[in-house]
């Protein structure tokens, strides 16, 4: 038996910390949600598509974007799921309480969908096409969680 246990060696608690640059566009996006509770997207000068979350280049047209436009705050659910399996939260390393709602939100005025949590107090209302609005966090640190979740307003 002792020999069998030695077939596996675990990596232990060592971590590999990493720093990700938010970049100019992410910085603007998070500053706006933190300070002004506004959602901003970038519009392609060529095809006119509005990208949220914003990024510097429209891949299809292969051009830089610098035309900021306000989107939302309301939108519709593009698709969703309700998570029911225990999951390790990458932010905390702890098990996340289930169930919780996840979705892609098509903000008014945007052409792409934004990923976020969806309130599932009434599961029967969580549907593709349902109208939603953001619920902002009291304390906003300049990250994705400046918005706590989107709630259904239909």
């Amino acid at each position: 038996m002792a020999e069998k246990e030695q077939l596996i060696i675990e990596s232990g608690d060592a971590a590999q910390p990493f720093k990700y640059a938010v970049g100019m566009h992410g910085s603007k996006f998070f500053t706006e949600t933190r300070d002004n509770m506004r959602l901003m997207g970038l519009k392609c000068p060529k095809c006119g598509k509005v990208y949220v979350p914003p990024r510097g280049v429209c891949g299809k047209c292969f051009v830089e974007m610098d035309d900021w436009v306000e989107v939302g705050p309301k939108g519709v659910i593009g698709t969703f799921t309700i998570l029911r399996f225990a999951f390790i939260d990458p932010e905390t390393g702890q098990q996340k309480p289930v169930p919780y709602g996840y979705g892609f939100i098509k903000l008014d005025g945007a052409d792409t969908l934004l990923q976020h949590y969806i309130d599932i107090k009434d599961e029967s209302k969580v549907k593709i096409g349902a109208r939603v609005e953001p619920v902002y966090a009291q304390e906003r640190k300049g990250i994705t969680r400046n918005i706590e979740y989107f709630r259904i307003i239909d």
């Binding site: 979350p53 994705t144 969680r145």
Partner: protein, 381 residues
């Protein structure tokens, strides 16, 4: 254009946890099976392509773990980070390059050694998406809802994919999860993320597959009957999920079109005899078939119900049991190629299909089919 062929394949059994074996142990087994299948020795191999992911393997430059056992010592070896079909794509390009004649390609994975949801979570954008905790299952659940909403396909329709594939696996000794189940069993299994239940999801798996690709000038020099590569292509969609139409997969439509064109296939529904595709989740088999033009959009479920995709149906799909019966990430697409090769040679054993001249193998890179690779293989040159 010069032609290439697959002249040897080898695979390990797919298991939930190969606790006794390292990456190198698994690869050694698959490589030697492929060499023996081809009637070759390692001296007959002139270059090597391995397929692995540093994240999944938990080490930097993951190919180093399998170099020796792939016979790469003193040879040109390179690694593709992605699904095995992409490693094989590169291996094929090398066999065609004029610099090499025989390329050995391997793909290995041990899902048992890590927390797979954390690995797939790390595939998402670290600024906007990763912190929300999305992983492969969550993302696929959202794709399933988008697809079902658009087509009217019901969870119980998709559940039949799971029933068929686990049933096929009963005849495949390499499969991890052979099961005799019903749609009711799938629908009664634990809800993981709406609308996906446990039996709609492929398992965590360990396994390794090896394939040998040869230039036509040497393809008939060895023992094995060559299976000819007629067409292959891959195509990629946007990285951000929110930029894509998740109910569709344009990248797959494009990849399939290009592969058919290269193979000179005009009517894939008539000319393709069987398919091994990337059914990481039950609904994906339906969506992928439709996007490859092998069924009308939203109509694959009805054909499945009619038995057309069964082992003895008009178009057998995943006669091996597919990914639902064993999903070694990275290696999975290479298993699809190897399975088609065995079928076209008539060597598939208990899960052999009747008519097998032209087969399609399909691999996926990235979550929810961000990128697709399509292979058309043929018994005849």
């Amino acid at each position: 254009m010069d032609r290439t062929a697959i002249i040897g394949v080898g695979m390990t059994t797919i298991e939930a946890e190969k606790r006794r074996e390292t990456f190198a142990d698994m690869t050694w087994e698959a490589v030697n099976k492929a060499l023996s299948d081809a009637g070759m020795t390692i001296a007959d191999i002139d270059n090597v392509v391995t397929t692995s992911s540093d994240f999944w393997d938990g080490r930097t430059i993951s190919l180093m773990a399998v170099g020796d056992v792939s016979g790469a010592a003193e040879k040109n070896v390179s690694c593709v980070e992605g699904d095995g079909t992409y490693g094989a794509f590169y291996a094929n390009a090398r066999a065609l390059s004029g610099s090499y004649k025989t390329t050995l390609v391997t793909g290995h994975s041990k899902g048992s050694q890590c927390v797979s949801s954390l690995i797939t979570n790390a595939a998402f954008d670290p600024i906007y998406e990763r912190v929300l905790g999305m992983d492969m299952i969550t993302a696929s659940a959202m794709q399933a809802n988008a697809y079902m909403n658009r087509t009217g396909v019901k969870p119980e329709d998709a559940a039949l994919v799971s029933v068929k594939n686990h049933g096929n696996a009963l005849k495949n000794p390499m499969a991890q999860l052979p099961m005799n189940i019903t749609v009711d069993d799938v629908m009664a299994s634990e809800m993981i993320a709406d609308p996906l239940r446990k039996l709609d999801c492929s398992p965590v798996s360990d396994g390794c597959c090896a394939v040998i690709i040869a230039h036509e000038s040497v393809a008939t020099k060895f023992k094995q009957k060559p299976i000819w590569i007629r067409g292959l292509a891959f195509c990629t969609d946007s990285f951000f999920f929110g930029d894509r139409d998740l109910a569709r997969s344009k990248a797959l439509t494009e990849a399939a079109k290009k592969a058919y064109a290269m193979a000179g296939i005009k009517d894939p529904r008539k000319e393709i005899d069987l398919v091994e595709l990337y059914d990481a989740f039950s609904y994906q088999e339906l969506l992928w078939l439709e996007e490859m033009g092998l069924a009308d959009y939203g109509k694959a479920a009805a054909r499945l119900k009619a038995g057309e995709f069964n082992l003895d149906g008009a178009l057998p799909v995943n006669p091996s049991g597919g990914l639902l019966s064993g999903h070694p990430v990275i290696a999975a697409g290479l298993y699809r190629i190897a399975e088609i090769v065995l079928q076209l040679r008539g060597d598939a054993g208990a899960h052999q299909v009747k008519k097998a001249k032209t087969g399609l193998a399909h691999g996926v890179n990235g979550l929810c089919g961000q990128s697709h690779c399509v292979w058309i293989l043929d018994k005849e040159k």
